[in-house]
Protein backbone atom coordinates (compact mmCIF):
# COMPACT_ATOMS: atom_id res chain seq x y z
CA UNK A 1 0.00 0.00 0.00
CA UNK A 2 1.41 3.31 -1.01
CA UNK A 3 1.67 6.12 1.54
CA UNK A 4 0.85 9.56 0.26
CA UNK A 5 2.35 12.36 2.29
CA UNK A 6 0.26 13.47 5.23
CA UNK A 7 -1.62 10.20 5.47
CA UNK A 8 -0.73 9.96 9.16
CA UNK A 9 -2.30 13.35 10.00
CA UNK A 10 -5.30 12.37 7.92
CA UNK A 11 -5.62 9.22 9.98
CA UNK A 12 -5.24 11.04 13.30
CA UNK A 13 -7.84 13.67 12.43
CA UNK A 14 -10.22 10.95 11.26
CA UNK A 15 -9.82 9.28 14.64
CA UNK A 16 -10.67 12.64 16.22
CA UNK A 17 -13.78 12.94 14.01
CA UNK A 18 -14.94 9.46 14.94
CA UNK A 19 -14.41 10.23 18.61
CA UNK A 20 -16.45 13.44 18.36
CA UNK A 21 -19.25 11.57 16.57
CA UNK A 22 -19.37 9.05 19.41
CA UNK A 23 -19.30 11.81 22.05
CA UNK A 24 -22.22 13.53 20.34
CA UNK A 25 -24.14 10.26 20.23
CA UNK A 26 -23.61 9.88 23.96
CA UNK A 27 -24.60 13.41 24.90
CA UNK A 28 -27.71 13.30 22.69
CA UNK A 29 -29.94 10.48 23.88
CA UNK A 30 -30.45 7.99 21.04
CA UNK A 31 -34.15 7.61 21.75
CA UNK A 32 -35.20 10.95 20.33
CA UNK A 33 -38.92 10.33 20.84
CA UNK A 34 -38.58 10.44 24.59
CA UNK A 35 -36.35 13.48 24.91
CA UNK A 36 -37.22 17.11 24.45
CA UNK A 37 -35.30 18.92 21.75
CA UNK A 38 -33.56 22.20 22.44
CA UNK A 39 -35.90 24.17 20.17
CA UNK A 40 -38.95 22.77 21.96
CA UNK A 41 -37.44 23.80 25.28
CA UNK A 42 -36.84 27.31 23.96
CA UNK A 43 -40.42 27.51 22.71
CA UNK A 44 -41.79 26.31 26.03
CA UNK A 45 -39.67 28.80 27.96
CA UNK A 46 -40.99 31.61 25.78
CA UNK A 47 -44.55 30.39 26.30
CA UNK A 48 -44.02 30.29 30.04
CA UNK A 49 -42.68 33.84 30.05
CA UNK A 50 -45.69 35.03 28.07
CA UNK A 51 -48.08 33.34 30.50
CA UNK A 52 -46.24 34.82 33.48
CA UNK A 53 -46.56 38.24 31.89
CA UNK A 54 -50.33 37.74 31.53
CA UNK A 55 -50.54 36.56 35.14
CA UNK A 56 -48.71 39.68 36.26
CA UNK A 57 -51.21 41.86 34.39
CA UNK A 58 -54.14 40.12 36.07
CA UNK A 59 -52.51 40.46 39.48
CA UNK A 60 -52.05 44.17 38.90
CA UNK A 61 -55.70 44.43 37.93
CA UNK A 62 -56.77 42.63 41.12
CA UNK A 63 -54.58 44.92 43.20
CA UNK A 64 -55.92 48.11 41.67
CA UNK A 65 -59.53 46.93 42.08
CA UNK A 66 -58.88 46.00 45.70
CA UNK A 67 -57.34 49.37 46.33
CA UNK A 68 -60.61 50.88 45.22
CA UNK A 69 -62.54 48.64 47.61
CA UNK A 70 -60.27 49.71 50.47
CA UNK A 71 -60.83 53.33 49.51
CA UNK A 72 -64.63 52.89 49.69
CA UNK A 73 -64.32 50.98 52.97
CA UNK A 74 -62.26 53.73 54.51
CA UNK A 75 -64.76 56.25 53.30
CA UNK A 76 -67.66 54.23 54.77
CA UNK A 77 -65.89 53.63 58.08
CA UNK A 78 -65.55 57.36 58.54
CA UNK A 79 -69.31 57.81 58.59
CA UNK A 80 -70.06 56.18 61.98
CA UNK A 81 -68.44 54.47 64.97
CA UNK A 82 -70.14 51.17 64.22
CA UNK A 83 -68.89 51.15 60.64
CA UNK A 84 -65.39 51.72 61.91
CA UNK A 85 -65.68 48.75 64.26
CA UNK A 86 -66.95 46.58 61.43
CA UNK A 87 -63.98 47.54 59.31
CA UNK A 88 -61.51 46.67 62.10
CA UNK A 89 -63.23 43.32 62.43
CA UNK A 90 -62.97 42.84 58.66
CA UNK A 91 -59.22 43.50 58.69
CA UNK A 92 -58.71 40.89 61.43
CA UNK A 93 -60.77 38.37 59.48
CA UNK A 94 -58.73 39.02 56.36
CA UNK A 95 -55.56 38.12 58.25
CA UNK A 96 -57.12 34.90 59.55
CA UNK A 97 -58.46 33.85 56.16
CA UNK A 98 -55.19 34.56 54.39
CA UNK A 99 -56.00 37.61 52.34
CA UNK A 100 -53.06 39.69 53.57
CA UNK A 101 -49.32 39.48 52.99
CA UNK A 102 -47.71 38.49 56.25
CA UNK A 103 -44.20 38.73 57.65
CA UNK A 104 -42.69 37.30 60.81
CA UNK A 105 -40.15 34.86 62.26
CA UNK A 106 -40.34 31.33 60.93
CA UNK A 107 -38.64 28.81 58.67
CA UNK A 108 -37.86 28.40 55.01
CA UNK A 109 -37.94 24.80 53.82
CA UNK A 110 -36.61 23.66 50.47
CA UNK A 111 -37.69 20.24 49.23
CA UNK A 112 -36.14 18.93 46.03
CA UNK A 113 -35.84 15.64 44.16
CA UNK A 114 -32.65 13.65 44.54
CA UNK A 115 -29.92 14.81 42.17
CA UNK A 116 -29.51 12.69 39.05
CA UNK A 117 -25.77 12.18 39.66
CA UNK A 118 -26.36 10.59 43.05
CA UNK A 119 -29.16 8.25 41.98
CA UNK A 120 -28.51 4.56 42.66
CA UNK A 121 -29.34 1.86 40.11
CA UNK A 122 -32.95 2.34 39.07
CA UNK A 123 -34.87 -0.87 38.40
CA UNK A 124 -38.18 -2.53 39.18
CA UNK A 125 -37.26 -3.20 42.80
CA UNK A 126 -35.80 0.27 43.16
CA UNK A 127 -38.09 2.59 41.22
CA UNK A 128 -37.37 6.23 40.50
CA UNK A 129 -40.52 7.16 42.45
CA UNK A 130 -38.64 6.59 45.67
CA UNK A 131 -36.36 9.51 44.99
CA UNK A 132 -38.77 12.31 44.10
CA UNK A 133 -40.89 14.59 46.26
CA UNK A 134 -44.52 13.45 46.44
CA UNK A 135 -47.74 15.19 47.40
CA UNK A 136 -47.82 13.05 50.56
CA UNK A 137 -44.40 14.31 51.61
CA UNK A 138 -45.51 17.89 51.28
CA UNK A 139 -48.76 17.13 53.10
CA UNK A 140 -46.79 15.57 55.96
CA UNK A 141 -44.43 18.53 56.16
CA UNK A 142 -47.34 20.96 56.24
CA UNK A 143 -49.12 18.85 58.82
CA UNK A 144 -46.05 18.99 61.08
CA UNK A 145 -45.79 22.74 60.57
CA UNK A 146 -49.44 23.17 61.58
CA UNK A 147 -48.88 20.89 64.57
CA UNK A 148 -45.98 23.11 65.57
CA UNK A 149 -48.25 26.12 65.51
CA UNK A 150 -47.44 27.69 62.17
CA UNK A 151 -49.67 30.70 61.58
CA UNK A 152 -49.23 31.09 57.85
CA UNK A 153 -47.77 28.72 55.26
CA UNK A 154 -47.03 29.06 51.56
CA UNK A 155 -45.60 26.67 48.95
CA UNK A 156 -43.77 28.33 46.06
CA UNK A 157 -45.60 31.54 46.98
CA UNK A 158 -49.01 29.81 46.97
CA UNK A 159 -50.68 30.57 50.28
CA UNK A 160 -52.21 27.59 52.03
CA UNK A 161 -55.80 28.45 52.95
CA UNK A 162 -58.66 26.47 54.48
CA UNK A 163 -59.71 24.80 51.23
CA UNK A 164 -56.29 24.27 49.65
CA UNK A 165 -55.88 20.82 48.20
CA UNK A 166 -52.46 19.25 47.68
CA UNK A 167 -52.58 16.42 45.23
CA UNK A 168 -50.37 14.44 42.90
CA UNK A 169 -50.44 15.79 39.35
CA UNK A 170 -48.13 13.30 37.68
CA UNK A 171 -44.78 15.02 37.26
CA UNK A 172 -46.06 18.04 39.18
CA UNK A 173 -47.94 18.62 42.42
CA UNK A 174 -51.23 20.44 42.24
CA UNK A 175 -51.73 22.97 45.00
CA UNK A 176 -55.16 24.59 44.93
CA UNK A 177 -55.57 25.21 41.19
CA UNK A 178 -51.91 25.55 40.26
CA UNK A 179 -49.36 22.93 39.23
CA UNK A 180 -46.07 23.27 41.04
CA UNK A 181 -42.76 21.71 40.06
CA UNK A 182 -39.72 21.06 42.25
CA UNK A 183 -37.91 22.63 44.02
CA UNK A 184 -40.70 23.25 46.51
CA UNK A 185 -39.98 26.21 48.73
CA UNK A 186 -42.19 26.29 51.80
CA UNK A 187 -42.40 29.39 53.97
CA UNK A 188 -43.99 29.17 57.40
CA UNK A 189 -44.44 31.82 60.07
CA UNK A 190 -44.30 30.66 63.67
CA UNK A 191 -41.83 29.90 66.44
CA UNK A 192 -38.72 28.94 64.38
CA UNK A 193 -37.29 26.54 66.97
CA UNK A 194 -40.58 24.78 67.47
CA UNK A 195 -41.21 24.47 63.73
CA UNK A 196 -37.73 23.04 63.25
CA UNK A 197 -38.16 20.65 66.18
CA UNK A 198 -41.42 19.20 64.89
CA UNK A 199 -39.82 18.49 61.52
CA UNK A 200 -36.55 16.98 62.76
CA UNK A 201 -37.07 15.49 66.22
CA UNK A 202 -37.50 11.72 65.81
CA UNK A 203 -38.86 11.17 69.32
CA UNK A 204 -42.04 13.10 68.51
CA UNK A 205 -43.17 10.30 66.21
CA UNK A 206 -44.70 7.62 68.44
CA UNK A 207 -44.96 4.93 65.77
CA UNK A 208 -41.62 4.76 63.97
CA UNK A 209 -39.39 7.10 65.97
CA UNK A 210 -38.55 8.79 62.68
CA UNK A 211 -39.13 12.41 61.81
CA UNK A 212 -40.28 13.51 58.37
CA UNK A 213 -36.79 14.97 57.93
CA UNK A 214 -35.14 11.61 58.72
CA UNK A 215 -37.57 9.81 56.46
CA UNK A 216 -37.15 11.99 53.36
CA UNK A 217 -33.38 12.47 53.66
CA UNK A 218 -32.94 8.71 54.01
CA UNK A 219 -34.06 8.54 50.38
CA UNK A 220 -31.62 11.25 49.41
CA UNK A 221 -34.30 13.88 48.88
CA UNK A 222 -32.93 17.37 49.40
CA UNK A 223 -34.48 18.82 52.53
CA UNK A 224 -33.12 22.02 54.01
CA UNK A 225 -34.65 23.92 56.89
CA UNK A 226 -33.51 27.47 57.56
CA UNK A 227 -34.70 29.48 60.55
CA UNK A 228 -35.25 33.09 59.60
CA UNK A 229 -36.15 36.32 61.32
CA UNK A 230 -38.26 37.73 58.51
CA UNK A 231 -40.21 35.15 56.56
CA UNK A 232 -42.59 36.61 54.02
CA UNK A 233 -45.77 34.71 53.26
CA UNK A 234 -47.79 36.15 50.39
CA UNK A 235 -51.55 36.48 50.48
CA UNK A 236 -54.01 34.18 48.79
CA UNK A 237 -55.34 35.16 45.39
CA UNK A 238 -58.50 33.51 44.16
CA UNK A 239 -62.16 33.09 44.83
CA UNK A 240 -63.46 31.87 48.21
CA UNK A 241 -67.15 31.52 47.59
CA UNK A 242 -69.36 28.93 49.27
CA UNK A 243 -72.25 27.50 47.29
CA UNK A 244 -73.68 24.88 49.67
CA UNK A 245 -72.69 25.85 53.18
CA UNK A 246 -74.94 28.25 55.05
CA UNK A 247 -74.34 29.77 58.44
CA UNK A 248 -76.71 28.43 61.13
CA UNK A 249 -76.92 31.56 63.23
Amino acid sequence: MKFQKGQITFFILSVLLGYVIMVMLYSNPINMNQSTSLSTVKELVKKENDELEIKKDYLNKIRSLEKRIVFYQNYASGTSVNAKKIQEELEKTKVLVGLTDLVGPGVEIILNDRKKETLPNINENNPIEWYIVHDEDILKVINELLAAGAEAISINDMRIVSNTRIRCGGPTINVKNQSLAPPFIIHAIGNPDQLNNFLTNPSLDAQHQMSIYNYLTSYGIEFTIRKEENVKVPRFYGSMKTYYAKSIN
Partner: protein
Protein backbone atom coordinates in the same frame (compact mmCIF):
# COMPACT_ATOMS: atom_id res chain seq x y z
CA UNK B 1 -9.48 5.99 1.24
CA UNK B 2 -9.19 3.04 3.61
CA UNK B 3 -7.13 4.89 6.19
CA UNK B 4 -9.62 7.70 7.11
CA UNK B 5 -12.57 5.31 7.24
CA UNK B 6 -10.54 3.02 9.50
CA UNK B 7 -9.60 6.11 11.54
CA UNK B 8 -13.23 7.08 12.06
CA UNK B 9 -14.01 3.54 13.21
CA UNK B 10 -11.07 3.64 15.65
CA UNK B 11 -12.33 7.01 16.94
CA UNK B 12 -15.82 5.59 17.45
CA UNK B 13 -14.32 2.68 19.39
CA UNK B 14 -12.33 5.08 21.60
CA UNK B 15 -15.48 7.12 22.14
CA UNK B 16 -17.31 3.95 23.09
CA UNK B 17 -14.94 3.26 25.96
CA UNK B 18 -14.09 6.85 26.94
CA UNK B 19 -17.35 8.78 26.68
CA UNK B 20 -17.41 12.38 27.90
CA UNK B 21 -20.54 14.41 28.34
CA UNK B 22 -20.95 17.70 26.52
CA UNK B 23 -23.22 20.23 28.26
CA UNK B 24 -26.54 20.56 26.43
CA UNK B 25 -25.93 24.29 25.94
CA UNK B 26 -22.90 23.56 23.72
CA UNK B 27 -24.18 20.49 21.92
CA UNK B 28 -25.77 22.48 19.08
CA UNK B 29 -22.46 24.26 18.34
CA UNK B 30 -20.64 20.97 18.65
CA UNK B 31 -22.89 19.39 16.02
CA UNK B 32 -22.20 22.25 13.58
CA UNK B 33 -18.45 21.82 14.16
CA UNK B 34 -18.91 18.09 13.65
CA UNK B 35 -20.54 18.71 10.28
CA UNK B 36 -17.64 20.95 9.21
CA UNK B 37 -15.11 18.31 10.28
CA UNK B 38 -17.04 15.59 8.47
CA UNK B 39 -17.00 17.74 5.34
CA UNK B 40 -13.23 18.22 5.68
CA UNK B 41 -12.59 14.48 5.96
CA UNK B 42 -14.78 13.72 2.95
CA UNK B 43 -12.99 16.48 1.04
CA UNK B 44 -9.68 14.94 2.11
CA UNK B 45 -10.72 11.52 0.86
CA UNK B 46 -11.73 12.99 -2.47
CA UNK B 47 -8.48 14.95 -2.75
CA UNK B 48 -6.37 11.91 -1.97
CA UNK B 49 -8.26 9.93 -4.63
CA UNK B 50 -7.51 12.77 -7.06
CA UNK B 51 -3.86 12.66 -5.86
CA UNK B 52 -4.16 16.33 -4.94
CA UNK B 53 -4.08 15.87 -1.14
CA UNK B 54 -2.20 18.56 0.77
CA UNK B 55 -1.65 18.22 4.51
CA UNK B 56 -1.67 21.94 5.26
CA UNK B 57 -4.92 22.56 3.43
CA UNK B 58 -6.52 19.59 5.13
CA UNK B 59 -5.49 20.46 8.72
CA UNK B 60 -6.35 24.15 8.38
CA UNK B 61 -9.68 23.24 6.78
CA UNK B 62 -10.48 20.68 9.47
CA UNK B 63 -9.93 22.96 12.46
CA UNK B 64 -10.60 26.30 10.76
CA UNK B 65 -13.97 25.31 9.35
CA UNK B 66 -15.03 23.60 12.58
CA UNK B 67 -14.21 26.60 14.78
CA UNK B 68 -15.56 29.12 12.27
CA UNK B 69 -18.83 27.23 11.93
CA UNK B 70 -19.30 26.85 15.68
CA UNK B 71 -18.27 30.46 16.30
CA UNK B 72 -20.63 31.81 13.65
CA UNK B 73 -23.45 29.68 15.01
CA UNK B 74 -22.79 31.10 18.49
CA UNK B 75 -22.72 34.70 17.22
CA UNK B 76 -25.86 34.00 15.22
CA UNK B 77 -27.60 32.72 18.33
CA UNK B 78 -26.56 35.86 20.18
CA UNK B 79 -27.80 38.14 17.39
CA UNK B 80 -30.90 36.04 16.78
CA UNK B 81 -29.83 35.45 13.15
CA UNK B 82 -29.79 31.77 12.11
CA UNK B 83 -26.27 31.84 10.66
CA UNK B 84 -25.88 28.15 11.45
CA UNK B 85 -28.15 27.48 8.46
CA UNK B 86 -25.41 28.84 6.18
CA UNK B 87 -22.95 26.34 7.66
CA UNK B 88 -25.43 23.50 7.29
CA UNK B 89 -26.16 24.32 3.64
CA UNK B 90 -22.51 24.88 2.72
CA UNK B 91 -21.02 21.85 4.42
CA UNK B 92 -24.04 19.63 3.91
CA UNK B 93 -24.16 20.43 0.18
CA UNK B 94 -20.44 19.93 -0.23
CA UNK B 95 -20.66 16.65 1.65
CA UNK B 96 -22.97 15.28 -1.05
CA UNK B 97 -20.85 16.67 -3.89
CA UNK B 98 -17.73 15.13 -2.38
CA UNK B 99 -19.50 11.85 -1.82
CA UNK B 100 -20.67 11.81 -5.44
CA UNK B 101 -17.10 12.44 -6.64
CA UNK B 102 -15.73 9.67 -4.40
CA UNK B 103 -18.39 7.27 -5.65
CA UNK B 104 -17.60 8.01 -9.27
CA UNK B 105 -13.91 7.58 -8.60
CA UNK B 106 -14.40 4.20 -6.98
CA UNK B 107 -16.70 3.00 -9.75
CA UNK B 108 -14.14 4.02 -12.37
CA UNK B 109 -11.39 2.24 -10.46
CA UNK B 110 -13.54 -0.87 -10.38
CA UNK B 111 -14.20 -0.62 -14.10
CA UNK B 112 -10.56 -0.16 -15.01
CA UNK B 113 -9.59 -3.12 -12.81
CA UNK B 114 -12.13 -5.26 -14.62
CA UNK B 115 -10.75 -4.12 -17.95
CA UNK B 116 -7.23 -5.02 -16.80
CA UNK B 117 -8.44 -8.49 -15.85
CA UNK B 118 -10.14 -8.90 -19.21
CA UNK B 119 -7.01 -7.69 -20.99
CA UNK B 120 -4.84 -10.14 -19.03
CA UNK B 121 -7.13 -13.03 -19.86
CA UNK B 122 -6.98 -12.13 -23.53
Amino acid sequence: MVLPVFGILVGILIGFFLPINIPTAYSSYMSIALLAALDSVFGGIRASLDKKFETGVFISGFFGNAFLAAGLAYIGDRLDVPIYLAAIFTFGGRLFINFAAIRRHLLENLKSKKNELVNKEM
